[in-house]
Amino acid sequence: MGDALRPDLAVIAAHVPQGARVLDVGCGDGVLLATLRDEKGVDARGIEIDPVCVERCVARGLSVVQGDADKDLTFYPDGAFDVAILSQTLQTAARPDHMLRELLRVGSRAFVSFPNFAYWRMRWALMSKGRMPVTRHLPVSWYETQNIHHVTVKDFEQLAADLGIVIENRWFFTREHEVAKGGANWRAEYALFEVSGR
């Protein structure tokens, strides 16, 4: 896979089936979509809010629509995609629960990754300093962050259960490495889930 891919993106790229129809929600500059198109022959589509990123995607020959995932997913028909991807964006959604439902409406399965707010460094920062943590994966101060719904591994698993969503796979990462699943809620800096509807 592309050598520049972040570990969670590399895992997603490895697990997307050949030739699948893929929607990457919050696709950034399109690095994952371009990899999927070039190495897996997928029908790659994206939604991205930042016009500069969209412009880079178009320059890569990708089909990416500038838009707000909170509002624009509704314009995609049911089951239009085999795979929907939401990488490091769930925590920016106005309603993460609605977003998950929409992902699994437009796609038959979804990959969702997010920073784990229960990571021990977060807990330590909050406990020792009494202030909102600023880390690699949540790098912006509380008042200017786009991350409006902080979530933990356990919270996500609970939400999936509440929504009747099946967790097919899970991966956990700290820095650039995958970590074991045991104690992930403490030990994982960020998490990736593969989910499907019932």
């Binding site: 016009p51 412009e55 990708l62």
Partner: protein, 369 residues
Amino acid sequence: MSTPFQTLSLPTDLPLDSGQVLSGVQIAYETYGELAGDKSNAILICHALTGDQYVASTHPVTGKPGWWERMVGPGKPIDTDRYHVICANVIGSCMGSTGPASAAADGAPYAMRFPVITIRDMVRGLVALLDALGIERLHAVVGGSMGGMQALSLAANWPERAERVLAIATTARHSAQNIAFHEVGRQAIMADPNWQGGDYYGGESAPDAGLAVARMAAHITYLSEEGLTEKFGRRLQDREEKTFGFDADFQVESYLRYQGSGFTRRFDANSYLYITRAMDYFDIAEEHAKDGQEGKLADAFAGTKARFCVVSFDSDWLYPTSESRHVVHALNAAGAPVSFVELSAPFGHDSFLLDVPALDRVVKGFLDG
């Protein structure tokens, strides 16, 4: 006008949406760059309301550079070293294609006997030109404003003819506001005593005053308030004080008068009537309505195999971003691969013609990708 145009006579009649038929149709066009042996590298560029086929070469009447010379040429975003670019004058216009100033079967100009045409009729003319040139499938069709309407119309009605569709600062239907502005322009022309019911050809005078007013009103809609304020503010023209009269005291007045009078030297008033009417009638969804049901835009694009790129500008209030989003949502619903970006530029609707480097990158990326 005596300028010789490169024209092609269509071998067959052109059926129109109105039910009428145009015979002996001429299409005037320009080409740039070599056509590949397999004819796979042709790009059709569609011009806007008052544009013409001189997209990247000197205009024979005004002597000015082509209207999109910054975009089209060797090494430019639409690279004529790679692509064979075709740009034709639409039917109804006045730069060599058959329009109201052309001679009808009786030898006299059509004038208002010219049939009312639609955007789809213009595209019929362009498709007939492609047929005559032996170009089965375009690498891309590209257009801004009314040119974007033609690009979308081609995609909806001739879905096999273009691999890529690039629609800039445009819409899939004309809004009430757009129609209202056009009506102001048409009324200005028809209120000019020199209009004479459209039969002014060969006479002493043409409805230049009316046409100039139409152009002035339209020109305001092509700019943004921010752009106008930056360019002119309330500055006075060639004077220190207001005259307390109706001369062009303000720079913006003098600029509009200049735009209006310059326009009458290169454009025919009746063509302005016909082309604005065609734009007002434009509604792709309505065209594809069935059994009395309200048409859905997604249905119009259901059969397309093309890739789309839609671009809007944040300062364009004539064809605002919401119009582009409407097109994009329909394309998504139709499952078409589509890109969309709203670019930031201060120039209003005219941004697509002006120096917006991000547009260059998007156009090049989309055509080459």
